[in-house]
């Protein structure tokens, strides 16, 4: 039995900018013949790079767990490695994640994004001397962390959020707030109050206007808006 392969071409419009040689960014129109085994957008980009080695993008695990290859794909943020190439209307327009400074081509400077992640104290705080064995946690308590701990810090959500675009230095953003709630929800963490204090500010938490772009783009199907809602609830119940 022979399997016939229909020749497939992927046509792209790609944001290009190399500060070493380009006076300004431009959109490059470029096509590439795909191999039958090329399923994902990342496969096509790797093939494209084998023809033009100057195309720059981050990538690593190619299976959606490392969070490297987030980009803006036909106007929507996503991971190249989890996007079926055949599902995309052509020409496929690729831009760097919006709202962050561009370093080169599809590579953005993520300093501000990680600064916000670090600002929520992203680690379990427990000042009770640790027991000799594991701290106990019931399966139900552990289940509270589901939908939170799986974040891969790809930045699809925060860079899809208009509030983050306007105030990237003041608004923690959906990724950072999801992480904040991950530690609040952990029964082993003792600093819920301090964590809420840290977010009680007109910008850090309350710039979330439940636009829900974050939920729409998350490649891991997480729900930062829901986590933000829970933090707001805790703040209200604390105030009462």
């Amino acid at each position: 039995m022979t399997i016939e392969h229909i020749a497939r071409t992927a046509n792209f419009r790609i944001y290009r900018y190399d500060p070493d040689k380009d006076a300004a960014p431009y959109m490059q129109e470029i096509s590439v013949e795909l191999d039958p085994t090329d399923r994902k957008l990342l496969d096509a980009l790797v093939r494209l790079k084998s023809k033009d080695d100057s195309l720059s993008f981050r990538r690593s695990c190619r299976e959606g767990v490392c969070g490297s290859d987030a980009m803006n794909i036909n106007g929507k943020n996503g991971l190249a490695c989890l996007t079926d190439i055949d599902s995309l209307p052509q020409p496929i327009t690729l831009r760097p994640l919006p709202g962050l400074p561009v370093i080169r081509d599809l590579i953005v400077d993520m300093t501000q994004f990680f600064k916000q992640y670090h600002s929520i104290k992203p680690y379990v705080v427990n000042n009770t001397p640790p027991p000799e064995r594991e701290r106990l946690q019931s399966p139900e308590e552990r289940e509270e962390l589901n939908g939170l701990y799986e974040c891969i810090l790809c930045a699809c959500c925060s860079t899809a959020c208009p509030s983050f675009w306007w105030n990237p230095d003041k608004f923690v953003g959906p990724a950072g707030l999801l992480a904040a709630y991950r530690f609040i929800a952990d029964t082993r963490d003792e600093e819920t109050n301090e964590r809420l204090d840290n977010l009680e500010d007109p910008y850090r938490l309350f710039r979330c206007h439940t636009i829900m772009n974050c939920v729409d783009v998350c490649p891991k199907s997480l729900n930062p808006t829901k986590a933000i809602g829970k933090i707001k609830e805790l703040m209200l119940s604390r105030a009462v």
Binding site: E63, L82, R104, V124, Y149
Partner: protein
Amino acid sequence: MKVAKRTFDAVIVGAGGAGMRAAVTLAESGLKTAVITKVFPTRSHTVAAQGGVSASLGNSEPDHWTWHMYDTVKGSDWLGDQDAIEFMCKQAPQVVVELEHYGMPFDRLDNGKIYQRPFGGHMSNFGEKPVRRACAAADRTGHAMLHALYQRNVRANTQFFVEWLALDLLRAPDGRVLGVLAMEMETGEVTVFQAKATLFATGGAGRIYYSSTNAFINTGDGVGMAARAGIPLEDMEFWQFHPTGVAGAGVLITEGVRGEGGILRNSDGERFMERYAPNAKDLASRDVVSRAMVTEINEGRGCGPAKDHVMLDITHLDPHTIMQRLPGIREISIQFAGVDPIKAPIPVVPTCHYQMGGIPTNYHGEVVVDGASVAGFYAAGECACASVHGANRLGTNSLLDLLVFGKSSGESMVEFIRKEPAALQEVPQAEIDKSLARVNRLNTQTHGADVHETRLAMQRTMQAHAGVFRFKDMLQQGVDKILEIEKQVAQTEIKDKSQVWNTARIEALELDNLIEVAKATIVSANARTESRGAHVRDDAPDTAEHPNGRDDANWLKHSLWYREGNRLDYKPVKLEPLTVESIALKTRAY
């Protein structure tokens, strides 16, 4: 080229599990520590580990570290050093508990303790029956662990140099290691990172093969740098082919799937592992399962139009178990195989997964050459060879390796640094120039070899000549081919000459490292004329005199490959554990 200089107490290259575990120990000791990493720490390949980390916690049933030790020695086909294996298995419960204290979101049992699942080759009572030893966070254990370690480092204020590529190891004339030269990707600027102690935790080099579960970044950078600096590489012929990579895509499907009850089936729907491993069945050691699968395929019982894979079946499991314990696997199957494993089996094929060999160390993480430790140089994790995995690693022992030897090397470094004088030795200019020459060549090379094509030629050669089953003639041809490809690697050309985030240059520099690993692998494999663990060849078959083709009289020894002169040497296996009795040689059966 202008070269800046920075000095630290300790420099760690690599921010995966081993590097970040060592960083916790160093930073919490108050030492000035730099971690150089070519990707943001949580993007390191530890993130892709799925099934679990082993420790004889005994949370679900009786377990003991001596049973774990027995399984690991047997899994290694007796090539593992028993002192290091004892050290690792004994330390396991403590390092896993520490990780839990760092905030690792392990799954839980009803009594609140860490959830444990069975895994291949892990048995109770010295090989009797499978035991629940793998501590898991669903099927995202590596992700949860890497994030927990990064978070602990944020707390400890560890200084990270993110998206810097280490270029070469810097050594003094007396052999002492002085640090590394590294390039900042964003600017192309090169800096000397000088330190009293340097740790390589750079991971494996699975990208020497065409079909691999490994990430793009797994290019053996530390192993390549060590080889160029005159350090021999140990047991590089031993590569693990994971039984269950998604056919075609290579993406990993954890052994935890079989731990939860998954079954491998051939085109007749037969549970063929019953014939190959009557006791452990689908939970036999990985080398055993991979060979069984390839045998099924070679004998015409493969699945699909090309009969080139087998099926991993979990359709009989409760969908709730799949959703709760294997949610990531379900995602991967849908994404990369186009099947929902609740409804249909997953097409799988053995895929290159793990490098058992590496930079020779002892269980303190010190790099050891000719019986003596190299002053100031440490290695841990997949890039190192302690050697705990010997000729075949057990599933979940890799994450354990990262924790145990990340910690022990960190502790050794703290001790070493505290004894060192304050003043640092001068880095010889010749060392810096040698490394810069590699970068300068790429900046000026014209009419050279294409990086992508050259890498592909190497990967296809390794795949064809040093796979699951190895053949005498093919190995010899493979050596010749790889040595030819090496000449191409020496004259690769990149079109992109930019200084800013030049990924073409990074890939060319990575290929310099990959080719060292490929050479070490094929030369060591060609020379080892026995079958042992993951290294099985046609001219060393299963006979009465040599069961499984293993030849202890001649080959119970570690290979050492030297780049200089492309030569081999050997050293004995440490059969004496630290406190318990040696586990006597035996024919391996599951």
